[in-house]
């Protein structure tokens, strides 16, 4: 019995158990506490399963039906790396939610949507079937639309609606592309389609479906010029949800699905993505420089950092893909940490405006310290994780004969540093305002969660060591590079 299928079953079951409890239990306190416990136990178990699954390679036929007839669930190095990242971040986010979500009226609804979103993401990572990939993308997207608008204020509903329209367009593209592939080959299984494409001629219809996929996943990954929804949606969501959206959702639904489909199914040339990556790096960071809303600034940085990941993967060399995937893991850790920190500041101060903060290091040392670590990581300072992944991406650019790309990547990194200097100066250093003297450190669970992520920011630097790299990152790189060899995964 492959235990990775529990990564889909546990959150799905948990979501509906919490929903049933929410309807059956009258007292709000009991409801909140039970949903806290259930959600945290489930995400803890899932993080445990995912982190101990490295090295697994295989597929599972749901219902016992053989492959072209039935649905299969497949795991290889790439999916396991993503699963470990997603579920670790999800555990930190649920731990953080225990205190943070007290501000909202309906905690159990929140947990049930959160677990559904997690089901969708894990499903995307494990699906070996194109139509199921689409279904899981929809599960994750639709629950994230609801989570973005969870506060039901005007701004949040507007952001959620915008996100829903853009996401809906992306989903339609995906469905259309899947329909084209199904009409061409008569199968929906990813491995079978991959085999069929490798022996068929490149018809215009196939190219059209590839472009539909690229456009759709670029919207989901918020690559410029498809990014318009992100700077609204990510700040509007509650902090742990922003951490999930920026940290893992755009990567799972966007980058993972795009890489899987371009590299493993179409086995196509990815170099067309490099210009998009460069544009995202530069425009994202330039747009971020002008922001004074803390979460909006972080959201623009997500666009920029996703550019780095795309740039690394688009080089198509082993080193480039290694850098891209390493940066993907690192970015999920430090970006969720930054969003959780901004949530802690907003929880105590009631504002996200950088101009109204200042000197918070004196009253919130844990939040200040961890956000300092995260800022240095995202700016690419040694010895934090962001330094190593950016270094690998830049080296890979030079190695593959694109020194121009390397220059842009360095320029983006310097601008990132200056932008985070601004955050640190305005929010955590400087003079503490008189009205903020009484502010206390963030509550216990929130602090524990950010400390775990800050430790991970330093610990993941160790992934560059050859011994650790060969267990964690190398199988993922090999899986991406194997191209149509992905088809071997089915038994």
């Amino acid at each position: 019995m492959e235990r990775y299928i529990y990564l889909i079953l546990l959150p799905l079951g948990g979501a509906f158990i919490i929903a049933a409890l929410n309807a059956a239990v009258k007292s709000r306190d009991t409801r909140d506490i039970t949903s806290d416990i259930i959600a945290n136990l489930i995400t803890l178990a899932m993080a445990g399963i995912a982190l101990t699954s490295f090295g697994i390679n295989g597929s599972y036929s749901v219902g016992g039906w053989p492959v072209p007839l039935g649905i299969n669930i497949a795991a290889d190095g790439f999916s396991i790396l993503m699963l470990a990242t997603v579920n670790t971040i999800a555990f930190c986010a649920t731990l953080y939610s225990i205190n943070y979500m007290d501000q909202y009226t309906s905690k159990s609804h929140y947990y049930s949507l959160f677990l559904l979103m997690l089901t969708g993401m894990n499903g995307v990572l494990l699906s070996g079937d194109l139509f199921n990939l689409f279904v899981f993308i929809e599960i994750a997207s639709i629950s994230s639309y609801a989570l973005v608008g969870f506060g039901t204020e005007a701004e949040e509903l507007e952001a959620s609606f915008k996100y829903m329209v853009m996401g809906g367009i992306a989903s339609t593209f995906i469905l259309l592309a899947v329909a084209i592939l199904y009409s061409s080959f008569g199968v929906l299984n990813m491995a079978n389609i991959s085999q069929a494409i490798s022996v068929s001629s490149q018809t215009p219809l196939l190219k059209f479906s590839l472009f539909l996929f690229i456009a759709a996943f670029s919207i989901k990954a918020a690559i410029i010029p498809f990014h318009a929804w992100l700077p609204d949606a990510h700040p509007a969501a509650p902090a742990p949800v922003s951490a999930m959206l920026s940290g893992v959702l755009i990567k799972t639904l966007g980058i993972y699905a795009m890489t899987r489909i371009i590299m493993n199914i179409f086995a196509a040339d990815v170099s067309i993505l490099a210009p998009l990556g460069i544009i995202s790096i530069m425009l994202g960071v330039l747009l971020a420089l002008g922001q004074t809303d803390m979460k909006r600034l972080f959201a623009y940085h997500s666009v920029s950092q996703v550019g780095y990941i795309i740039l690394g993967i688009s080089l198509g060399t082993p080193l480039g893909i290694l850098g891209g995937l390493f940066h993907l893991v690192n970015h999920s850790i430090f970006k969720s940490l930054l969003f959780l920190n901004s949530g802690a500041v907003a929880y105590r101060l009631g504002t996200r405006e950088l101009n109204e903060m200042g000197g918070l290091n004196k009253v919130m040392p844990i939040t200040g310290g961890t956000s300092f670590i995260a800022s240095l990581s995202i700016a690419g300072m040694p010895p934090f994780n962001g330094f190593f992944s950016k270094l690998i991406i830049i080296l890979a650019c030079v190695q593959s004969g694109h020194p121009g790309f390397a220059l842009w990547a360095v320029a983006g990194s310097i601008l990132t540093l200056s932008s985070f200097m601004k955050v640190q100066k305005f929010a955590f250093f400087g003079k503490l305002a008189e009205k903020h003297k009484q502010i206390k450190e963030a509550p216990l669970m929130m602090s524990i969660s950010v400390v775990i992520l800050a430790v991970l920011c330093i610990a993941t630097s160790l992934l560059v060591l050859p011994k650790v790299k060969n267990i964690v990152l190398q199988p993922a790189v090999d899986a991406v590079l194997s191209g149509a060899g992905y088809a071997k995964i089915i038994r």
Binding site: M1, L9, G13, F16, I17, A23, V62, G63, G64, T152
Partner: protein, 162 residues
Amino acid sequence: MNDEKNISSGMSEVVKTVCNIVEGFIFVFGCYIVLYGQLSPGGGFAGGVILAAVFILIMLAFGKERVLKIMPRKRGAFIEALGALSFLAVAWAGLYVSGIFFKNFIPTTAASHFKLMSGGTILIYNIAIALKVMAGLFLVFFVLSITRVILEGDKLKMVKKQ
């Protein structure tokens, strides 16, 4: 003023009478579609939509008070979660009975004369889906009918209708 009171408690007497006659038939037809869907066109989703239509019909004809007596909001939410949970439970049972998730572990019989036909676990799945779709669709309709977006200053706000 008397007219306004009538409007708030539903539609005209003709509609109410017709609704009283047909609602039972529609409900039975919905159950038939759910239960027979394992062997013929139909199934949990289609049947569930028909069952939800009964509640929506009652709500349109008589107003929301009467439908809330049969199906309060909390009960609807519970039935919906229960539908999803029982679907998952049957799928999970396959894992424990025969070692494969989603395995159809109840014996199925092929079509033959004078024998009872069975689709195995498909029947239970259909019932679970019907519960979920019935409650879910009704709740969507209900929530849409009780909320309203108003303009407050220059901001839109979502409020509960009185």
